[in-house]
Each structure stands twice: as C-alpha cells, then as structure tokens.
Amino acid sequence: MAAEANNVASRSSLLLALRAAARTALIAFGLLLPLIAFRAVHDIRNELVLETRWPLFAAFVAIAFAGRLLWELLPRESLKIRLAAFARAPGQLLSAAAACLVLANVLRLAAKSLADTDAAIALAFTYLFAFATFAFVIGAVGAWVIRRYPAGTETGRQRRHQIGVGLRTGALGFLLVYPLMLFWLAGSQGSIKWIDNFGIQILIYVMLGWGLNIVVGLAGLLDLGYVAFYAVGAYSYALLAKSFGLSFWILLPLAGILAAFWGVLLGFPVLRLRGDYLAIVTLAFGEIIRLVLINWVDLTNGYAGISGVPRPSFFGIPFTDGPDGFAARFGLEFNAIYRTMFLYYVILVLALITAYVTMRLRRLPIGRAWEALREDEIACRALGINTTTTKLSAFAIGAMFGGFAGSFFAARQGFVSPESFTFMESAVIVAIVVLGGMGSQIGVAAAAIVIIGGTELMRELDVLKAIFGRDFDPTQYRMLLFGLAMVVIMIWKPRGLISTRTPSVFLKERKAVSGAHVREGHG
C-alpha cells in the first residue's frame, strides 16, 4: 500500500516537474525567438537579410527546460541543510577547494587533448574554475565565520570585528599589489589588459557608484542623469587641458568644482519633485547635456569628439619614449605599462578618497540629515533642517565625485565624445547602486565588480565556444546575461547585496539596522 502511494506521489511530482519545465521552455521559446533565432546580417551584396539560427535557439530552449526540470526534481530543503552542514567543517571545505582545483586541471588537460579545441579554450576553463573555486572558498569561509562567531556574544562580536578589519586590510593590500602581481605573473604584454579592463575600468565605476550612492543611497533622491556630471568632468578636462595646457592635477579639482556647480544647477529646479517625477527630470537633464555636447560643434566638435587630450604625467614627467620620459628618468626600459600602472594607482587613490569622504560625511550632521531626508522629509523640516540646502549639498557632492571620475576618464582615454555619456551609462551606475544595496559602500563596490567585471569577463569567456560552437560570440550576449543577472539578484536579494544599514553613532554597540526598516526614499 505504502509503496504504491509513494510511487504515485513520485510519479505525480515528476509530472508536475515536467509541466513546470515545459512552461519554462515555452517562455524561453517566446522570449528567445526574436532574440536568438533570427539575426539580421549583411550579405555579399551588402543587403540586409534575415539569418536563422535554429540549432543555437534549440540549445537555449533545451537548457531552459533541463534547468527547470533539475531544479524541480532537486530535494531542495535537504540540499540546503546538507550544504550548511558541509560549510560548517573547515576540513571539508579545504578538500572541496582542492577537488575543484583538481577538476579544473583535469578539464584543462582534457580540453587540450581534444583535437578541435585550442589552447585558448583550455585556458578559459582554467580561469573559470579558478574563479569558481575562489568564489566558493570566499563564500564558505564567510559562512564559517558567521557560524563560528555568532553576533550575539561578546567574544563573537570582537572576533568578527577583528576579522572585518583583517579582511579590509587584506583587500586594500590586494588592490595595492594587484598590478605589480599581474606584471610579475603575466609580463607587460599579458598584464596590461588585466590592469586596464579589470582594474581601472572597475575602479572608475566603483568611484561613480560611490558618488551616486550619496545622492541615491543616502539622500534617497533617485537621479537617473548622473552621467551628465561625468560628462561635465570629462569635457572640462579635455577642453581646458587642450586650450590652456593646464596639468591634470590642476584640472582635476577644477573639473570637480564645475561638476558640483552643475549639480547645484540641476538641484534647484528639481527640489520640489519627488520619486518618479524627479527620476524623469534628472534623466532629461542627462540627455540635455549629451545633446548640447553633440550640437555645440564649435566648442565640443560634436559627434567626432575631442581627440589628443593630454595624458597625465608622473607629476610633470611624461610617460613617453625619450630622454625626458618616465622610463629614462628612472633608469627603466620604455614600456607602455608604466602609464597604465600609474593610472591604476591614480584611480585607486581617487576612489579611496571618495569612500573616505563619504564615510566621514555620513558621521557628520550633514550625512545624518541626508539619511533623515531619505527616511522622512516632513519630519526633517519639523526639526528645523533646511531641506533645500541639504538636498543641494547631496547633489553637489555627488556630482563633484562624478566630475573627478570624468576628468580621470578623459585623461585615461585621451579622447572624449558624446558616445561615452549615453543614458545606458547612467542606468549602469544606478544599477550598481541599487544592486549593491542602497547606502552600503561595500555593497556598491561588490556590485561594480560583479557588473563591470562580469561584462568584461564576457569578452574572455571563450569557454562558451566549446559548448555552443565555434562561431558563438559571447560578447553579443552581454546585455542578455546582464539583465538576467539583475533579475536573479533582485529575486534573491531584493534590497541589494548588502541590505543592512550601519548606524552612524551608537551608545553601547553598533548593531546593523535591518533593511526592512530602512526607507528607500526616491524623493
């Protein structure tokens, strides 16, 4: 009897799972049909023709079906418990990490031995598994720390604090040696891409995220036009450096001040707007700045942009090949990597300054007023806080950091054009702040690494070619995966990666405030 009932139950659960998987496959079919099955290409006569990619499309739908089926059939609750138990034992963790590495190596060798795969794909496998191992170890160690040192006890709190300080010092140390380590590991040719794309690029967005975090995360003013201040900073540097020959170090603060000025200018008309209305007007402001840059051809050279923007020098010593160049002065052989390394350290310092200033401001009355504004503007006014100046100061300081980042961007590229300041950029920066957890600096940094690092990594993922065939170009799917990742994070952590808020002062102990109480402002 019992066995029969069991049988029936498992059969009906299989049926349910199949039905769910079929539904998922249907949705994937509908969504992906226009995205993947058809592609517009130029044929030999340069005419636009529709090309179909049925096998690739079928592969995607099949993956959706199989994934959902697996997910439904997985004993999820017991899996969770087993995973938790697993993460509790450090010995098991280490063996798992070791197993991951061994597996990665085996796969690498296997991929190498296959006739039609080349070394690049094998290398990509190695990267992927090294990355997976790294992420796994970090997550497991975090889980272990939380379990081993519970927050409720005195010693647990102390140890957690120590571990936190240790982690922060470790992260800072890693950031400091990152380019040197790469240079040592991969040589000047191999490392330049990694320092530039994964170091400088991510740090620019970390800085932009931290700047916008003041406006959106702390003051609760949803600003969708933040890229305007980035553009103001970039064009200020490009124009002033080209026409007056001023140095990067003079123009950096100047660009920040100009951007702050524009921040106040934007702030005035939108003071009375809240929520969606504020978002729409700031969005329009961003577009206005971009359109002005396109159409004021006399000043900005329109779409063509400004090229030949002076590159930053090492406090007066240019990074050029020649007797006066940086390499010659310091008795080194000329190499382009020195400039890249220098730029890396400049943006690292700029980003750290942003973080430090924000952290300090948050503990001053002005920072508390920003957060109070996010929580309840009417109550602020009843307490005698001038909400006008408070909002304007948030706009100005946020814009200032955007301006700094902009002038750095112009100096790094040596070229600026309106192309770089589209709404997409604003959207990415807002996404970084929202995904990070509004107000949390660590969260914003993590989100920038995930989003920017992830999109950059898509360029590197040749491993997908092994699955989808040779002519599969992963960079084409960047936006698709980007959107998918956003949806997943928003389901898994609707308030961002770090949803708790750290109080600015405390009487007895600093207890994180649960995100459930914190308002999201938007006004």
Binding site: L361, L364, E371, A382, G384, I385, K511, A516, H517, V518
Partner: protein, 297 residues
C-alpha cells in the same frame, strides 16, 4: 504672560473653509488643549502655526525673552518683516516663515498625528538629527568636522549625552541602538516627543499623543507632559481626543467645531458648556438642553 497669539486665522482649501476667523492665545508655561470633533480643523491649526501651511488670512505671533518686545508687533507687521531677534527677546510672525525656520528660529517643535520617526535610523540617531542645528554649527558646516577637529567631537559627545538624558526619562536607554521602526507603538510616540524636546523648543505642539495608547499608558503620558511643563518651563499646545488626559493636565481648553471656536476657558468650565457637548454629540445645542431637561439634569 502670552507666548503665542493667534489672531483672525482663516485657512481655506478651495471652497472648503477649514478654519474660520480663529483667535486664541497660549500662555507661557501652560498646557493649552485644542479639542473638537473629527475634521474640526485642529491639525490644520498646527500646520499653520508650524509653517507647513500658509494661512489664507490672519496673524500668528510668538514671543520669548523679554515680554516688552510684544510692543513691536504692529511695527513689524507694518514693515513686512518676519521677526525680530535682539538680546532682550524675540518676536516672530509665524505666518511669514517657512516651516524649517519656524522650528529653527521661533523654536516651535511638533509631533504628528501619524507618527513620523526616521524608522531606519536608530533611536539615538533620531535624537541626534533633532540636534542638527547646533551640531552643524559645531562642525563648521561640515568643513571643520571633515578635518576631525576635537571641538566637533566634543559637541557630538555633548549631543549624545543630551540624547541619553531624554532616553533615560522615557525609559528607552536599553534600546538606543535599535532602529526606531522596531519599537512598539507607545514607545514610538514617546520617542517622537523626546525628539521634539531635543530641539530645545519654547512651544511644543503635540498632535494626539495619546492616540492608540491604553489607559495606563495614557495616564503615564499625562504625568510625563506635566513634568515637562513643570521642569522645563515649556509651553505645550495639545490636540487630544482622550478627555481624561485633557481634563487632567490642561490649564486652558479651546474647542473647535467646523473651523470655528465654540468655547475657550479652563477645563471644568468648558466641560459643562452645552455648546461643547452638542458639538461632540453632533446635535444642535438647544436640543441638548431639551434632552437634559427630560432626564432631569
């Protein structure tokens, strides 16, 4: 001695007259209660006094320091100025000031009918936001504070000390580091009053502080308000529906109905006023005397 003088206050929302030609005074060191049935216009009076609404007509003057400055009121009104601050005393025409200046300069603090705390900030942070103005000055408008000068650290310690005193008084010291939104309802009401007191007000406007409290909590609140008045030389303007609280602690009661003042006097006089009873029962007042006669009162 008069602290607040409201003269011919009228507030219209389109065709609706929420307050109609209301005049009253609030004395220094008194608890003045403002009562009336739902929709009588009590909250609107508060919003006018605290600058959240700009009244359609009328004058509202608040004075502290030397009462001699009252003599300046006509001259001020003539000159179109919003107030006068001199060493002897200050006089403000509230209808001319924006809300945050009413709180900052005229030192009027208020609470809200539906509690408005900063729920995601801790209890202590709520009390520090209330001390924004002095702390801002101590931090040199953030510049000196950024440099980490010890004078700001000292000011912040003093502010925390003051917050702790108020927390001790309302018995919330243990929960200082918890988010305000996590407190039980009654504690949130008390915290809102403590937060208002942290701004060092001369006039405290409380909009239904006993709403949602049980009888013993209401009694405790009444005691608390009385000690506030006695020990801090503060004047209180109180909107309250709980008549036990009103009759117990107020020195003066003003009754509003449909935006019009229908009674004004000490609590025991107002309580027996047939017009007041009629307004609360929702009938004409001659009907009340008729009924009273019938039951033999």
């Amino acid at each position: 001695m008069t602290l607040l003088r409201v003269e011919h206050l009228t507030m219209r929302f389109g065709g609706l007259v929420a307050i109609n030609d209301l005049s009253f005074t609030a004395e220094r060191g008194h608890i003045t209660a403002l009562i009336g049935p739902n929709g009588a216009g009590k909250t609107t009076v508060f919003n006018c006094i605290t600058g959240f609404y700009k009244p359609s007509e009328g004058r509202m003057a608040l004075q502290f320091g030397d009462p001699a400055v009252w003599d300046e009121i006509e001259a001020l009104t003539e000159r179109g100025q919003r107030g006068l601050e001199c060493r002897a005393g200050s006089l403000f025409l509230l209808e001319r000031m924006p809300d945050f200046l009413v709180a900052q300069k005229a030192r009027v603090a208020r609470t809200f009918q539906n509690i408005r705390l900063f729920p995601g900030m801790t209890v202590l942070e709520n009390l520090l936001v209330a001390q924004h103005q002095p702390l801002m000055r101590a931090s040199g408008w953030s510049v000196l504070g950024m440099l980490g000068l010890p004078s700001y650290a000292r000011a912040e310690r003093a502010a925390i000390e003051k917050a702790r005193l108020w927390l001790d008084r309302i018995g919330l010291t243990e929960r200082a580091d918890d988010p305000a939104g996590a407190l039980p309802y009654g504690a949130q009401r008390e915290l809102e009053i403590a937060r208002a007191m942290c701004t060092d007000p001369v006039l405290l406007c409380l909009d239904e502080p006993a709403a949602g409290l049980n009888p013993s909590e209401s009694a405790e609140l009444a005691r608390f308000l009385r000690t506030l008045r006695n020990e801090h030389a503060i004047s209180i303007l109180l909107i309250e529906h709980d008549m036990s609280v009103v009759m117990e602690i107020s020195d003066h009661v003003i009754v509003l109905d449909h935006g019009v003042k229908i009674a004004d006097g000490p609590p025991d006089v107002v309580r027996d006023d047939p017009k007041v009873i009629a307004a609360y029962l929702g009938v004409e007042h001659d009907e009340v005397s008729q009924v009273e006669a019938e039951v033999g009162l």
